[in-house]
Symmetry: C2
Subunit: 413 residues, 2 copies
């Protein structure tokens, strides 16, 4: 394989996770340490930073400070949701990217994001090849949704899963404080894939879990839901339900839209109408059972709660970033770094594996329905076996005054 000398660009794209910066740091560190990569640029706000010639020199950052990226949530370089057009229809952006690549002699491009970002990588890689510009392009995955094809799991998922499981365990205790009845509805993210919601099942392994878990993979039936909650509530006086924001009825309508419809009509429960799915279902259950019901939306916290991150996730995310760079230097291009699980003497081991970008882009991996229980309102041991190794290890997050010490970049050009 020929040696390719030149600069590199690292960019981040899509929604935040607790560990996307660990991946970016893995790539930045490997690039700074390499002899082939001459300058390490960070693109501010992803591909927009490339298009706008808004690049910072990562070599000018203090190495000690840079290390804090490993434990800082959200995207330290800034992110975007910019989708490149089909180059056959409009290649303006691609020409501009090529111009910037030439300007800075960029020979390596690392893009850290979800499905759309892998698509971006793929398109850029093809355009460069077609135009005879030698540039190695690697995708570094991240998504709390865990829905990327090919890879065993996605960097970012495990930390969100750990936060959700921990929070459900804590809510379990809170909900049992009085000997009076209490129903709790917790809403987790994951519009099309139920991985995050499923992680609530981890709370159950030591008996502090949810009674019912509803994934978007299964049609949601309101009558059956109400009947199940009523039964559990009648038996125990408590019921904890975890629902995905993306649950839909069998006609494919989001249950969250039911609440929106309701707001257009009269308020039929005598309460203020609802912002989110959790509040909507809480009001439905309040009306159906007469019980005290609380709706809790885990909201942004589940994707940025770095203080509760999985160190396994952080380490793997870092490795993914690092592997993108080492593989590219070794000659690999047009691939996404992913994970393959290996069980060694019954112990979980995570190996780096490369995937074709074209396979990863624009597909979504769902929770296998064989991992659900028979009544499709919970997960079975297969899911636990899958998810539990991923959440192991406590974050080594640096604290100052007992609060997180997150990275402050100088962002010099």
């Amino acid at each position: 394989m020929s040696t390719l000398k030149g600069a590199c660009i690292i960019g981040q794209s899509g929604g935040p996770t607790s560990v996307i910066n660990a991946s970016a740091y893995g790539a930045i560190k490997a690039a700074l340490d390499s002899e082939e990569i001459t300058t390490v640029y960070g693109a501010l706000n992803g591909i927009k930073g490339v298009l706008d010639d808004n690049l910072i020199d990562m070599g000018k950052e203090d190495p000690k400070e840079l290390e804090l990226m490993k434990y800082t949530p959200s995207s330290a370089l800034g992110s975007c949701r910019y989708k490149l057009k089909d180059p056959d229809v409009d290649d303006t952006d691609y020409k501009r990217i090529l111009e910037i690549f030439k300007k800075y002699d960029v020979r390596y491009f690392f893009y850290n994001g979800g499905n759309d970002s892998m698509d971006t990588c793929n398109k850029i890689s093809k355009f460069m090849l077609k135009n005879g510009y030698e540039c190695r392009v690697m995708g570094i995955p991240k998504t709390i949704d865990n829905d990327l094809a090919g890879t065993d799991h996605c960097p970012g998922y495990a930390s969100a899963a750990k936060y959700i499981a921990t929070s459900v365990m804590e809510i379990y205790h809170d909900a049992r404080v009085y000997d009076t009845g209490m129903i709790t509805v917790i809403e987790a993210m994951g519009r099309n894939a139920g991985w995050l919601t499923a992680s609530a099942a981890l709370a159950g392994i030591h008996g502090n879990g949810a009674d019912l878990i509803y994934l978007p993979e299964i049609d949601f039936d309101m009558d059956s839901f109400i009947a199940k909650v009523k039964k559990i509530y009648a038996e125990n006086g408590k019921c904890i339900v975890v629902v995905s924001e993306g649950i839909k009825d069998k006609e494919g309508k989001y249950i969250s839209e039911y609440g929106a419809d309701l707001a257009q009509s009269k308020d039929s429960f005598g309460h203020a109408q609802l912002g989110g799915l959790a509040s909507y279902l809480a009001n439905v259950l309040k009306s159906e059972t007469g019980a005290k019901v609380r709706g809790i939306e885990l909201s942004l916290l589940q994707r940025c709660a770095a203080h509760c991150a999985s160190q396994t996730d952080i380490d793997e995310s870092f490795s993914a970033g690092q592997a993108a760079v080492t593989n590219a230097i070794a000659g690999v291009t047009d691939k996404m770094v992913g994970f393959e699980r290996e069980m060694v003497d019954g112990k979980y081991k995570c190996n780096i594996k490369l995937f074709d970008l074209s396979i990863v882009a624009n597909t979504e991996k769902k929770v296998p329905t064989e991992w659900l229980n028979e009544t499709k309102d919970g997960l079975n041991d297969k899911f636990i076996e899958y998810a539990l190794p991923l959440i192991q290890g406590e974050t080594k997050l640096v604290k100052e005054d007992s609060l997180p010490r997150f990275v402050h970049l100088k962002k010099l050009k």
Copy 2:
């Protein structure tokens, strides 16, 4: 002081905190270790457990398991919101309590709760005295609201404060991920006292904080609020606001009720109507600014997030429970254990101090308005100096499979 031999009862009352069990454990351990206390009973669901003769023998619990109480949120013995009547009007409950005390030879009563619980302690203490039954009664405070009079701070507050500050820091990063505009409204608990909401100011000490903080101590003016958010948003493209659930307008009407009113009328924003204050204010700001706005209710999580507890809070809570027992054995009665702050060579030190129950009961300590900034939409250094020492130290929470290992009591009679 005469030696008093007999059994003791420990009960818990009011809403959960992350550390109320640390206090209960402090009392239980000290009682189990003492020679004067013959049997240590836990009252299930507070005073209701006494009235219902529903007592468990804490001596039958595995000591190692019992130790996990120190890190388990919510009330391990169960709680209640039962308010004893004025004994001059109806002394039925008091007679029953005396009957139970006599039945088990209870000579020590420790009650772990908020203002109402201190009132309960005080009334029981007076009744026993009046009826010539020797019994030492001690209150052990807990409240995330930090609103008990006398004591420098309340067990439970610091852990909630730490979780809020940490979460605000994380949300700060999440909200800055894109270069597009974003307004975030975070709702914290504290109906009448702004201590919890104020804790968001701790997030600002390293520059990851909220732009505006609104406490219930200050009349909330909607026009001024909108104008301030608009100004900050126009300047920075981002704005983070933290509001107390209890903010009121100058007529004394809760702002959270505005949303409820709105639901009675037509939906004027073209969106689903709102469950909570955060969602309501988010919709107001959406309509006023056209920006992307997110409302986040920290909900139950802020009071039960034991995984993010302050070890200082845990240790102090434990000491408070312990001190209640050692003081009672030494002859003290009718007191609440509280804290006095001492600065030794500029370092925070917390001393145990005893307070008259009658002073503590039924009063609320507010955030001093001198601790607010000039524009009354944030806190100044006086608050930071007060709160920062309280949140120090990471919880030594025991984990199993990298998830919290909370206590499982056998609850044997």
